[in-house]
Structures are given as C-alpha cells and as structure tokens.
C-alpha cells in the first residue's frame, strides 16, 4: 500500500444539508472558490437524514473519505436535526475508530449558507487529509475495488 502517492485521487462523498451547507457549497461556486474535483456532493434535506448505512455504503463502494456538512448547531432549518446528527455521527465515528478505521476518513463539519469560503477550505483540507491516508483499505469491499 502506497500511502504517500501524490497521484492518488481519493473519492470523497460529501453529504450536504439543503438549507445551509448545500447553499454554502453553491456560494463557494458563486465566489469561484476552488476546491478539489474529488469532492462530490449529495444533497439531503438535513444532515440528520444521513443514515450511518449511507456512510458505510460509500466506503464499501470505493469512497476514501466521507464528510457530512450541516447547519451550525442551533441554526438547523428543522430546529433540532443537526443535534441528532451530532450524537449519531459522534457515536458512529467513535465506533469506526474503535474498529481501527482511520479517523481522518470521516468528518462532520458545520457550514452555513454564508460560509462559502469555509466550505471550500474544509473540502480542500479534508481531501488533503484523505490523500495523505491513501486509499481506503480497511473498510472496502474487495469486489468493488476499481481495477
């Protein structure tokens, strides 16, 4: 396994809530703030829609990193969705860590609709972190490995 392969292009799945983070991602587009093409965004109504199953599924199918973005705590469009997200995802990430999965493959970030710059910076940093880790080997499905 080559960890420091500079040509390694990680697959990054970003779940963004429709009201804050997806709008924040749009804003970084509007402001032409560049972030790596590795990041592909899936729109969900609220970060609390993200089932741990989706995260595992992404890793199974070949994602190297999964990031979830939601409204800042207290600002959830649905009042409390992101609070549930925070508990669920904390527990899930802790469990993945317990199973020896690299911590930097997963992340939860609060990005408001006004934080286009933060969105771009977060994605850049996250991609870089995952790139350093190399391909996901500990939680991948060999049958899904790209040839």
């Amino acid at each position: 396994m080559q960890v420091n392969d500079n040509n390694f292009q990680p697959v990054i799945v970003a779940f963004c809530c429709n009201w804050c983070s997806y709008a924040g991602a749009d804003l970084s587009g509007t402001n032409r703030l560049n972030y790596p093409t590795n990041v592909k965004i899936i729109r969900v109504p609220c970060s609390c829609r993200v089932n741990p199953m989706f995260i595992l599924r992404a890793f199974q199918k070949g994602a190297d990193g999964v990031i979830i973005c939601g409204c800042h705590p207290g600002d959830c469009h649905y009042t409390s969705g992101n609070y549930y997200t925070r508990r669920r995802i904390t527990l899930l990430y802790s469990m993945l860590d317990f199973l020896g999965i690299e911590r930097n493959r997963t992340r939860l970030e609060w990005v408001s609709a006004a934080e286009g710059a933060k969105f771009a910076a977060t994605m850049q940093q996250f991609t870089e972190d995952v790139r350093k880790l190399g391909p996901n080997r500990r939680l991948e499905d060999l049958r899904c490995r790209k040839q």
């Binding site: 587009g29 592909k40 729109r43 109504p45 609220c46 199918k61 649905y78 009042t79 409390s80 006004a114």
Partner: protein, 663 residues
C-alpha cells in the same frame, strides 16, 4: 422500463467554458434507461424549456435529468415545465454542474469527468424517483410582527390595510423604536417625531392591529400558514386597560434616580415611567429593579395617586397563544458597545458621546430641552469632532466587518444642524470614505461642506485624550496634507457601528431561520427574494436583515408586508410532498421516530394486520401527518427497522447516488 431524458445546459459559457458539455451529454447517453441526451445553450430559457417539454412528449419520458446550475436556482423551473406536459414534477432531478463544478474547477478534463459523475448520480437517483402529489394545508389569516419600530409599524399598517389582523410584539413599553429617539431625519431635515408619531397613533387605532407592548415571543411552533406562537406579556405592574396615561404616578414617584434608557442614560427617570410623551400605548410601567414597593414593600404612593386604580403590584407575566399564517421579523438594531475602544476615551469622558446620544442631546424632548450642551459641565461646546467608522469596517473582534451604512449621512446631518443652530461652533469630521449613495444624499453631504463649512478631513482619529482643563485633545492624521493634527475639542461624537438586536439570535433559533455570521437575518435570495427568509412564512423587515436608513427600512417593511399579504390571501398552501412515510408492515411501533420529530407529525395507532402465518395480530404502528411533516428525515435514521422513509430522498435513492459517485 424507464425512459430518461438528459439535458445538459451550457449556461452561456458559465458551464461550457470549463465543462465539455457535449462530452457530458454523450457520456450520459450510455447510462441505463437514458433514451435522449442533449445539450443546449440556455436550458432555463423558454426555448430550452421547450426542448425538455418536446422531448418528454416525443420520447414519452419517465424521468428527466437536467445538468445545470444549482437546484436551488432552477429546480422549480424545470419541474413546472415537466408538469405542463404531464410529467409528474418530482420525476425531475438536477445535477449541479455549475456552482459545484464549472465555477470551482479550472481544468476542463477533470471538471468534465466530475460533471459526468454528478450526472450519473442524478440519473441513478431519477430511476428511483416516484411521482409525488403535493397536499394542501390551511392558512391562518393573521400575521405577527416582531418588533414595533418604524419597520414593524409600517409592515403592520400595510397588512392591516389589506384587511388582515396583525399583532405587533414589542419588548419595550412603547412602540416607536429607534426612530422615536431621533431628532431630525436626513436628507430632508424634517422632524422624526412629526412623521413617526402619527403612524404610531394610526397603528394603535387600527381595528386590525393589536399591540402587545412590553412583550416577547417565547415560543414558536408550526410552519408556514400555521404557526402557533406563545407571547409573553411581561408584568408591567400597571393595568393596561385601566391606565389613562395621565402621568400622576410618574410625577409623584419618589424614586427619581433611574437611568433613562430613552435618553440613552443621559438623564434620569422615575421607577414608574412613560418613556416619552407620545408613547403608544400611553401606559405607565413600573420598573421592578427600582420600585421600592416591589423591592421591599415600602411606598405604594403611585397606587394612592392613581385615580383609575390601574396600579397592580401583584401583576404576573402572562402568556397568550395565538395562531398566525405569517411572521414578520422587525427586530432592528443597536449601536455597538464601545467599552473596548480605550483610544476614544468613551468610558473616561462624559463629553465623548455616541451619535445616538447626540440625537438625544439635540432633541427638544431630550435632557437639555434641545439646547446642545456638554454633558459634563452643561456649557456650549465650541469645537466638536466627529469620528466616523468607530467599530465599522473592522477586521478584529472589537468591531464589525461591515459598513454600518447610515453613519455618513447622519453625521452630515448632525454637523449641519450644529452649524445651523450654533454658527460659532467649529465642526470637524474625520472620515475614511464618505459614502453617500442614495437619492439626494451626496447633495446633502456637499451642502454640509459647501454651505455649512463643516471641516471634512480624510483620516482617522488615533487617540482622544481628556485634559485637565475640560478640553479634549483629539490626535488624528490628515492623510491629504500628510500631517498629524491635534484638535482642542469640547466634544467628540463617535459614529458607533450598528449591530442586530441581541434578541434576534434566540429568535432566529425559535423561527428556524438562518442568520449570517454578524447575526443579521439571511434573506432567501440576496437579489430576488430580499424580504423573505429561507424559512417559508417568515419575512424580514428593516435593519434586522442588514444596516438600513429610514427610507430603505420603510420600503422593505412595505415589501415584507406585500409578501405576507400574498400568503395571507390564500386559503390554503401547497405542502411539500417530500415528507416521511412509514411502511406499516415493517414498523415496530417503538416510538423512536416520534421522539426525534421536531414537529410532532408522528402518531401511533393500533392496527389489525394479517400475518404471514395467516393469523391476525393487532400491532402498534406509526403514521405521519403529511401536512405537519416538513421532511427533515430525522425519523428515518432513528427507525431501527427501516420502516420510515422519506419521499424524494429515500434510502434507495441516496444509496443509488452514493453508488454512482463511488463507482
């Protein structure tokens, strides 16, 4: 078999310059189920939409994928287009290849690759889209205006004019807000009270308007058309109905040393008070922090002198609950606290004042009866220095990063009024830029310079030092003559930055609306929907959305009213069909979903089921009220058996997207 149409937009060169749109269309044409894949210059244009419509008809499409700008821009446009030719609008999916692809990437090859993947994800999702039909929910024909300043008053008057009931909730004991404290208005120099107080009276007399003064919003439940709001009417220890506002209690109250907030603490009021003569409602309020009767049960004079019997020391906070169809936020602004600006000596010297304090000092109803005197020794100031941008345009934690917008104009106004009234006074204005966009604004500023000979100096004040002789040394740089100045001033006026009211942040949480990092409410669209919040049914009026002067505030207040009226005239509104639903055969009835639902949309029923072993069983199962559900999806993850799913964002749809992206 699915028949899917893919439409790739060039968006002029917005997309086409960085994404090879033809290659995207070609790549997506090979995806399963795709029967037509086209590109076009402007998909959202009429001819672009016709292209989609014609394809739906011609190819009998069962799903449409538009690769274009953000779904937040044009999802509705394409849904409507699909609906117009008989395709269920929820069978349309957007792949965001502009904001999330062409605009952020530079390399054509990788951007094109990404656009193809985003397109594939949308195709994978649309395969699983189900036709959805929107339900309807009724609209309560009543509006709530939060904040009773000029913005709130104007909004309420306009809504009442249209024939709807409006409630104003104001946290102070009178409506009027900041404008009531202002002396004159720019650029016409007419008296603020003369134009504001008639509106206050009009509001109090309008049969459609109810004013809840000295009240706060304590809880908001529900959703557009159907908000249930709890209003806390704080105890004012005076019966609002009985009080005639005669002022006898105020006159006789022995506790006279209470800082008068209406005059910015420049003089004192009594423990029982009516903020100003034209207050609406003109009802006394007892300040429990100072009233001796309330503090230690000794006094009771006001109760004795009140012939109306309105004093009630035992009054408690009351809570009233009311249903509203629309809520308009008009919480306004405040000048920032200047404690951290040691260099301007605001805390050390009473003659260094904020502009709002100067308004009161110059106001005929103010502490000096309209004569401008120094707060320290009540003498006429002969040299006055104005400092602009105190706390505005700051990059540090002391101030605000934005321009407060109103300071340039009110400072010109102050300077002019002072030079007009006291021609022997020298007035200096230290500015960084003079910003005067607005009708008759620059003319106004030029008048201050040319006609009134106000000394405008480009440069910032570095240090303000109170001297032992009572004068104030103002040290500043004059950038144009490249020299450092020392002005021996009598008074210094600081144009403090303005910030949203502190109550706005908790209110935004209650309303589930969004704020920017400065605590200004975020509008649904900065250009096209400036008076609506992103939360349906919540509208924004006045400075709670950003710094504004009075004409702008009033314009926005009326605009917000128009938007609210547009909602209130409807008998019902179409609901979002992307709501949760429970598969009863899988449901355990465990109540996990109910616990996380923020809207109380989930209830349980005992239902009889025919089991696989041909017996019948009564099982407790969840059901979702689609009119109440807002579609957040919290329940779908709380459900252990996967019985809960969300229309439009189903488990299988999201997983299909995941698969397409990771493939």
């Amino acid at each position: 078999m699915q028949r899917i149409g893919v439409f790739v937009c060039h968006c002029g060169t917005n997309i086409a310059a960085t994404v090879d749109v033809k290659a995207v269309a070609e790549a997506l044409s090979h995806e399963p189920g795709v029967v037509i894949s086209q590109d076009y210059q402007y998909m959202c244009s009429e001819s672009g939409q016709n292209l989609v419509k014609d394809a739906i008809k011609e190819h009998k499409l069962t799903g449409v994928v538009v690769c274009s700008c953000s779904p937040r821009m044009h999802e509705n446009t394409f849904r409507k287009a699909a609906a117009s030719v008989g395709l269920n609008p929820y069978l349309v999916e957007i792949a965001n290849i502009r904001e999330q692809c062409s605009w952020i990437h530079k390399d054509i090859a990788t951007a094109t690759d990404k656009a193809v993947i985003l397109g594939k994800a949308a195709v994978a999702k649309v395969h699983l889209n189900a036709p959805l039909t929107a339900g309807e929910s009724p609209v309560a024909k009543r509006a709530l205006v939060i904040g009773g300043g000029i913005a709130g008053i104007q909004t309420a008057l306009d809504i009442a004019e249209a024939g709807f009931d409006v409630d104003i909730v104001e946290k102070k004991s009178t409506i009027g807000g900041k404008m009531a404290q202002i002396d004159k208005t720019f650029p016409t120099l007419d008296c603020a009270a003369c134009i504001l107080t008639p509106k206050m009276v009009e509001a109090s007399q309008n049969e459609h308007i109810t004013i809840h003064s000295f009240s706060e919003v304590s809880e908001v439940k529900g959703f557009v058309g159907n908000f249930t709001v709890t209003i806390k009417k704080k105890a004012r220890y005076v019966d609002e109905v009985k009080c005639t506002g005669c002022g006898a209690c105020v006159e006789k109250c022995p506790m006279k040393k209470v800082p008068n907030e209406f005059n910015e603490g420049l003089d004192n009021r009594h423990a029982v008070y009516i903020p100003f003569a034209q207050a609406v409602p003109k009802v006394a309020t007892i300040d429990p922090n100072y009233c001796m009767m309330l503090k230690n049960g000794k006094c009771g004079i006001c109760s004795k002198v009140c012939t109306a019997g309105a004093i009630d020391y035992k009054q408690q906070d009351r809570f009233i609950e009311q249903k509203y169809g629309a809520i308009i936020v008009a919480t306004g602004f405040n000048p920032i606290n200047l404690d951290k600006y040691d260099e301007f000596a605001y805390n050390q010297c009473p003659d260094v004042v904020t502009s709002l304090e100067l308004e009161r000092l110059m106001n005929a109803a103010g502490p000096n009866g309209g004569t401008l005197l120094r707060p320290s020794d009540k003498t006429h100031p002969h040299t006055i220095v104005f400092v602009q941008c105190v706390g505005s345009r700051c990059d540090d934690e002391k101030g605000k990063p934005y321009c407060s917008k109103i300071c340039c104009m009110y400072t010109a106004k102050h300077a002019m009024l002072i030079r007009e009234k006291y021609p022997d006074t020298e007035v200096y204005v230290f500015y960084i830029d003079v910003r005067t966009p607005g009708k008759n604004f620059d003319e106004f500023y030029r008048r201050a310079v040319e006609q009134y000979n106000v000394h405008y100096i480009k440069g910032m004040v570095g240090k303000v030092t109170p001297k032992s002789d009572g004068k104030i040394d103002v040290q500043a740089s004059d950038l144009l003559s490249n020299e450092q100045l020392h002005i021996n001033a009598d008074m210094v006026v600081l144009a403090a930055a303005i910030e949203p009211d502190k109550t706005a942040r908790p209110l935004a949480t209650m309303l589930t609306t969004q704020m920017d990092t400065n605590d200004f409410f975020t509008e649904a669209h900065p250009k096209l929907r400036p008076v609506e919040s992103a939360t349906a049914g919540i509208f924004l009026s006045g400075a709670c959305q950003g710094p504004k002067d009075i004409p702008e505030t009033v314009a926005q207040a009326s605009a917000a009213a128009a938007k609210a009226i547009g909602l209130l005239v409807k008998n019902s509104i179409t609901c979002n069909p992307c709501v949760a639903h429970s598969d009863e055969l899988l449901c355990n009835g465990c109540s996990s979903c109910e616990k996380v639902c923020p809207y109380g949309a989930i209830t349980y029923q005992d239902k009889e089921f025919r089991m696989p072993d041909r017996t019948t069983a009564i099982r407790r199962v969840a059901s979702v009220n689609p009119a109440v559900c807002q579609g957040c999806g919290a329940c779908t993850v709380a459900c252990p058996s996967g019985a809960m799913d969300l229309n439009g964002f189903s488990n299988s749809q999201i997983m299909a997207e995941v698969d397409a992206i990771c493939k």
